[in-house]
């Protein structure tokens, strides 16, 4: 359907203003004013200028999976007739508002495809994630800014990927051609911009065509799931690969496909909440059992599990889906420059060499 508009660069904030009147809007922006390289997705306020020329430091993951969220509230109540009797009342009410994320990249949205499988396609469905997912739209850029650490093409995505997106935002001369891909998107796109000229449409087609052909990253992941299984018990390999790791957890926090969480109760007097909060498989406590036993006591075990989870276990469980979106954030943010491409890429190399 012909749901295309052109938004000129100098009319972008106006369009976003209009959009934000209809729906909660998130854009990539710089946190605070002074002099920071840091960018992430923030709620839009009138007049804000989105930063669309670079991948954000933090992905939009927190929009669908907040870092901390209340799963349920509980309250202890004493029976006035019998003060020794305390009863509990529970409630899981939560409010989800429809939202639109403008300016995500294909890698960001690809990350959600893994989360979708885990949170909504298993034997149990996570209603908190599902409700947010159903109520959130994504206007995804055609990405022209892949850099040396990106490898989205290696994981089944690419700079023009629109899987999971509602709009495609195509950079052209002087602005963006925005293409509504879904019904919901259609209903929002009116009056945000002008009908694109023939020239703009042609340019948009060309941009998409070139981006679709462009292969980002040269990592070849075919057979990696199997190579990982073969390599699992080779402690020397993992020792070498993880020697620099600080077990700091940055990679898991900036990763669009990392979703591991913990559930804890926090109580003050008679009332409290059960919270779900981000956890990291890179932390020692992650698998620490009450008895004191820890099946993953060292960073070697923990990093191996992380690599295995993304490149072997998730593909095994979900028809070959790779649990990584190739955004390269883990590489860029790692304080010791651990490169997951190396670690997974060399799995196969060594598997071929005779020991």
């Amino acid at each position: 359907m012909a749901g295309k508009i052109f938004i000129a660069i100098d009319r972008l904030t106006l369009a976003l203003d209009k959009l934000s009147a209809k729906i909660d809007l998130w854009i990539p922006a710089s946190l605070q004013t002074d002099n920071r390289e840091l960018t992430e997705f923030v709620p839009y306020h009138a007049g804000m200028v989105p930063i669309l020329d670079r991948q954000t430091t933090l992905p939009p993951k927190k929009i669908l999976l907040p870092q901390v969220e209340t799963l349920l509230r509980f309250e202890h109540r004493k029976d006035p007739q019998n003060p020794l009797k305390v009863s509990v009342s529970l409630d899981d009410k939560s409010e989800v508002r429809p939202a639109l994320v403008f300016g995500a990249r294909p890698c960001d949205v690809k990350g959600f495809l893994t989360l979708d499988r885990v949170f909504t396609n298993g034997p149990y469905v996570d209603p908190y994630y599902l409700e947010r997912r159903r109520n959130t739209l994504f206007a995804t850029l055609v990405c022209l800014q892949a850099d040396g650490t990106c490898f989205c093409s290696s994981v089944g995505s690419g700079p023009a990927d629109t899987e999971g997106s509602d709009f495609r935002v195509i950079p052209v001369d002087g602005g963006y051609v925005v293409d509504a891909l879904t019904q919901k998107a259609q209903s929002l796109i009116d009056s945000l911009g002008d009908t694109p000229t023939q020239h703009q449409e042609a340019q948009a087609r060309q941009v998409v065509e070139e981006a679709s052909q462009h292969r980002v990253g040269d990592l070849d992941l075919t057979g990696s799931a199997e190579a990982f299984r073969k390599r699992f018990a080779n402690d020397d390999y993992w020792q070498e690969m993880t020697a620099q790791c600080l077990s700091c957890g940055i990679c898991t926090y900036v990763c669009p496909t990392c979703y591991c969480f913990t559930i804890t109760d926090e109580i003050e007097n008679m009332r409290g909440e059960r919270l779900r909060s981000w956890d990291s498989c890179m932390f020692y406590q992650y698998t620490l059992e009450a008895s004191g036993h820890n099946p993953r006591p060292s960073k070697l075990n923990r990093y191996r599990n992380r690599a295995g989870h993304k490149f072997s276990y998730i593909p095994e469980k979900y028809d070959g889906l790779i649990g990584c979106c190739g955004c390269g954030r883990c590489i860029r943010s790692c304080p010791v420059s651990i490169d997951i491409r190396q670690i997974v890429g060399r799995l196969k190399e060594n598997a071929c060499e005779s020991e």
Binding site: L71, L72, F74, H76, K85, V86, S87, V88, S89, L90, D91, D92, K93, S94, V118, F119, G122, P123, Y124, V125, D126, P127, Y128, E131, R229, F232, A233, Y259, C260, F261, T262, I263, T264, D265, I267, G272, R274, R276, D279, C281, Y286, T287, L288, E289, A290, S291, H293, P295, R296, N301, N305, G308, H309, S312, Y313, E316, K317
Partner: protein, 280 residues
């Protein structure tokens, strides 16, 4: 009271009330609970070996095997060892207190495949808890199973659980062999570590399935013993334990390779275990 916004919210526990508490040993307590919603309680069905996430609101949740069999549903039983934040609070509960329960979770024992076999239960300490549910289930369906032997050991007579039921087990057609690690005044049963007594008893592996649960060191040596007696990996079952949070295969932490203990377990055969990533 339970206000439920999401239909089928797997994170929202059912409210249950503690009916009875039995102090098994110095640090193990058994809770008998029943769901507050009477209809749900009468409809509650589960397989022996499935687990539940017990909530003490304010402290958190912890995973325990449903200790009672599906054939006896006056209550749901859980045996809890006091080791940490949540179990500490569980040990402070009294009859009449309300808790939360998310159950049944996980896969239980494939008892259908065990029919017609001789069964050998080997338990150590609190390890008897997951075995009890299957044991009682089999006693209640006695004709379906052959010879049932229970080898149950603990450090001392005071560390044995379910002592008040031993007569009932024997009356149910079970060959019960009890042992403690060393001599104790008044103790008239066997003396010796479980793996040692196992070798002494020397049960035949023919048509027999062994179900083992206990401290890791005991399991290790029992495994050697069973292999020496000629048991194959597929004849040996156990329940694995891991730190668990969601219990529904989402939070990611209880995995062993691509298997989740909360979804694919906690019951596993040794054949399955040897095929898994070795990080127990």
């Amino acid at each position: 009271m339970r206000v439920n916004k999401f239909l089928n919210n797997p994170y929202l526990p059912e409210l249950a009330t503690v009916q009875e508490i039995i102090q098994e040993t110095a640090n193990i307590r058994t809770l008998r609970v029943s769901l507050d919603d009477k209809e749900k309680m009468s409809e509650f069905s589960f397989r022996p070996g499935q687990v539940g996430q017990l909530s003490v609101f304010g402290a958190g949740e912890s995973t325990f095997v449903i200790n009672s069999p599906p054939t006896r549903k006056d209550y749901l039983q859980f045996s809890v060892m006091r080791v940490g934040e949540v179990t500490q609070r569980i040990h402070q509960l009294n009859a009449g207190d309300q808790i939360g329960l998310r159950a049944p979770l996980g896969k239980g024992f494939q008892y259908e495949d065990m029919k017609g076999h001789d069964i050998l239960f080997i338990g150590g300490g609190i390890g008897m808890a997951p075995l009890r549910t299957l044991l009682l289930f089999m006693i209640d369906n006695r004709r379906d199973y052959g010879d049932i032997m229970v080898l149950y050991g603990a450090r001392s007579p005071q560390d044995l659980c379910y002592t008040y039921e031993f007569q009932e087990w024997k009356a149910g057609g079970v060959n019960l062999v009890l042992t403690v690690d060393s001599e104790f005044p008044g103790w008239k049963e066997r003396v010796g570590f479980v793996p040692t007594v196992l070798s002494e008893e020397s049960p035949s592996p023919h048509n027999r399935i062994a179900v083992v649960c206990g401290p890791p060191i005991m399991i290790k040596f029992v495994l050697f013993g069973l292999k020496e007696l000629g048991f194959e990996d597929r004849q040996i079952l156990t329940t694995l334990e891991k730190r668990m949070k969601c219990g529904i295969g989402i939070c990611g932490r209880c995995n062993i390779g691509s298997q989740y203990v909360c979804l694919d377990g906690p019951v596993f055969s040794y054949e399955q275990i040897t095929g898994m990533a070795q990080e127990l």
